[in-house]
């Protein structure tokens, strides 16, 4: 017997989902831009493919990224994905090793125990197959139990909040949860009747449910299993579970070098479908942890963007701090997508800043740019320049008489046309100043200069530049022995990946002590973010105090930061701990070696440079 009508729901579902995946993959690949298709073809037969296959296994089946976050949560995802995958693979092997030949209808291996009760023709493989099938079924069942448990006590699995799902997701998740218990039931009934299982299904069939009317339950059990599979497959493309096929394609395309552009593209569509709404971004978001705003995180934003249009609140309620980007196990370019979505709502015209006329930056070799936020914290500028003086740097403070905003705040809020005017203006003026290196103490400006300006000269954050000077022994510091906690600004740590330089620099003058794991690429936002406009100052201060409570070690005398905006925000929010910029801390501990001082006083070259 090779056919029974109960296989129909499964077969229809499988046929539908296969067709859907093939059609969607084709549409997505065909709609990629010419250039993207070209690089995909060029790199198809290269090492990148192998590494993409490995990443698919690692992330798609084993879920390593989630394991790193929480072992139990990782196990839950891994048992479902890897366990199910192994059941499919082993079921297929088993059915093909059976002496009746390797050609089978697709449903046949799935319902193998229904069709073959006598597994002895598998000879020596019988034992191992029945054991492994039971083992992986147990694994999947344990995963489903954890998933069910997570609905009630998600904290045990390391998640404070879970995603609130829409109807289609609820239907799909219910079908998915029913698949495995129903499979267990159908196989246990069969094992109870015909002894087809191993330690798990045989045990349940012959010891637990043996006094149920197994003869009568046999067909309904297999029907129910098949229907659950069918329902899951039919709902899959319209629910969160579309992430399974989409993520594989995403991993491959990403490896070939396809990425988000300046506006939504076909690649965005793939990324949107690859979001499983797992909700890891919700806990990562400080709007949720500090302010209880838990309905605007990427899981919801991406969902709404996939099905229709996110509303204004959803689009704008985000600090663009990139913590979700760092936490996302799929690696979706969330912040970029949100920025692109904001771009579709321009509020400033392309001629807003025509009034900046005839303004010039002075000629410079090493150009120091304080930026808007720098000007708001004159002590940072003073200390930075004092350090430059001490190291005999031939610098020019180019925006001493006023800086033009770098354009980053406008860009973060989607006002690209307006930002472009400022970028063009600044670009031109910096070019005219003849600078050979641009140093800024503002990470916001540094990020914008480095990513949007296409300057021909290197852009350094002052921590990088000061470290260079220290390494060249042009700056000496006294070790004060004070304990200091360093806070990583978002734009510096996640935006520019500068995390070691400020620490290395600070260690010359103070002892670093950290009270939290939320540092470096996982650092917490100060709350002053320029990427959000619709939260109040009280809410910003709440984020700032929460961040301080989390990161500041008990023994620290100061909080050091490398961003004038973070400094200001932290200082405004509380007076528990004094907040200083790294330049200020270093200036306090500056060691003027005697010969250095005299050298400094007899440096006519530098004096001239400043005057000219």
């Amino acid at each position: 017997m090779r056919y029974h009508p109960f296989t129909l729901p499964f077969s229809i579902g499988l046929g539908f989902i296969m067709l859907y995946i093939i059609v969607m993959w084709t549409i997505w690949i065909v709609r990629l831009s010419r250039r993207e298709q070209k690089i995909v073809w060029k790199r198809l037969f290269s090492f990148r493919t192998i590494s993409a296959i490995w990443e698919s296994i690692r992330e798609g089946l084993l879920h390593r990224n989630i394991f790193k976050r929480n072992v139990l949560l990782g196990y839950m995802h891994m048992s479902l994905a890897f366990g199910w995958f192994m059941l499919i693979v082993l079921g297929n092997l088993e059915a093909r090793l059976y002496p009746h030949g390797v050609i089978n209808p697709p449903y046949y291996p799935i319902f193998f125990e229904f069709f073959r009760h006598d597994l002895t023709p598998l000879h020596e493989y019988e034992e191992i197959f029945t054991f492994l099938m039971d083992f992986f079924l147990l694994m999947v069942i344990s995963g489903v139990s954890l998933a069910f448990f997570k609905r009630f006590r998600s904290r045990t699995l390391g998640m404070k909040r879970t995603t609130r799902h829409i109807l289609i997701d609820r239907i799909a998740i219910t079908a998915l949860w029913f698949i495995f218990p129903l499979r267990l039931f159908a196989e246990s009934v069969t094992a109870g009747l015909y002894n087809t299982g191993h330690f798990f299904t045989n045990f349940i069939g012959q010891w637990v449910i043996y006094n149920l009317p197994l003869d009568y339950l046999y067909y309904p059990a297999w029907w129910a299993y098949s229907i659950a599979l069918g329902v899951f497959f039919i709902t899959m493309p319209f629910s969160r579970y579309m992430h399974i096929p989409a993520e594989i394609l995403l991993i491959f395309l990403r490896k070939y070098g396809v990425k988000e552009k300046e506006s939504h593209s076909t690649f965005t569509k793939i990324e949107l479908s690859a979001c499983s709404r797992c909700g890891i971004c919700i806990d990562a978001c400080q709007l949720s942890t500090s302010l209880n705003i838990s309905d605007t995180q990427p899981a919801y934003f991406i969902r709404d963007l996939r099905y229709s249009q996110p509303n204004e609140r959803l689009r704008e309620t985000c600090m663009m701090c990139m913590r979700c980007l760092e936490a996302c196990p799929v690696g979706i370019e969330i912040t970029r997508i949100r920025e692109n979505e904001r771009r579709e709502h321009p509020l400033f015209s392309a001629s807003s800043y025509g009034y900046i006329n005839g303004y010039k930056y002075p000629k410079a070799k090493v150009a120091y740019f304080a930026g808007c936020m720098g000007h708001l914290t004159p002590s940072v500028i003073k200390s930075t320049l004092a350090l430059f003086d001490a190291a005999n740097v031939d610098y020019t403070f180019i925006d001493k008489n006023g800086s033009i905003c770098c354009g980053r705040p406008l860009q973060m809020n989607g006002q690209v046309e307006a930002a472009k005017q400022l970028i063009d203006k600044n670009n031109h003026l910096i070019g005219e100043s003849g600078a050979e290196v641009l140093v800024t103490s503002c990470p916001i400006c540094a990020r914008e200069f480095a990513t949007s300006y296409h300057l021909a000269i290197p852009v350094l954050h002052h921590s990088q530049f000061l470290l260079e000077l220290t390494q060249q022994k042009r700056l000496n510091f006294n070790q004060s022995g004070l304990k200091v906690t360093y806070h990583d600004p978002c734009e510096l740590s996640r935006g520019l990946h500068i995390t070691s330089e400020p620490r290395e620099l600070l260690q010359h003058a103070v002892i670093l002590s950290n009270g939290s794991k939320e540092t470096e690429s996982k650092s917490l936002c100060c709350g002053g973010s320029l990427g959000i406009t619709n939260i109040s100052m009280a809410e910003r201060n709440k984020i700032a105090t929460d961040t301080l409570n989390e990161i500041v070690a008990e023994s620290s005398s100061y909080l050091a930061t490398a961003c004038p905006m973070c400094r200001k925000t932290f200082a405004n929010a509380q007076d528990k701990i004094k907040v200083l910029d790294i330049a200020e801390i270093l200036e306090k501990n500056l060691n003027f070696a005697p010969e250095k001082v005299s050298e400094k006083n007899q440096s006519p070259i530098k004096q001239q440079a400043v005057i000219s």
Partner: protein, 111 residues
Amino acid sequence: MIDFGFAPMEVSVHNMDTADLSLAHWINLHDETFNHCIACGSCAATCTAGQFTNFSFREVCHAIRRGEIKSAIDESEKCMLCGKCTLVCPRNVNTRNIIMLIRKANLTFRP
């Protein structure tokens, strides 16, 4: 007429009974900190855009309260959204949000 290079000042009388306060009400509805402003001018003193042109957030707010919607909307475009004013405001007025609201109003309220 002979051009003397100067002329009598334009009459600037605002009748608050007839002033169009729709924008003020609308902004208030979306961000009540608009009402907290004491017109101290700290925002204007730190303003990045204000270094290059005659732009002041305080004046924009003032114009809205007087019903001068058009001039407020036109002025608001000069803002660079840099956020210094938000950080210095002693009354915690959410200045950037108000500028964004005025820019949004540009699409709906423009007379």
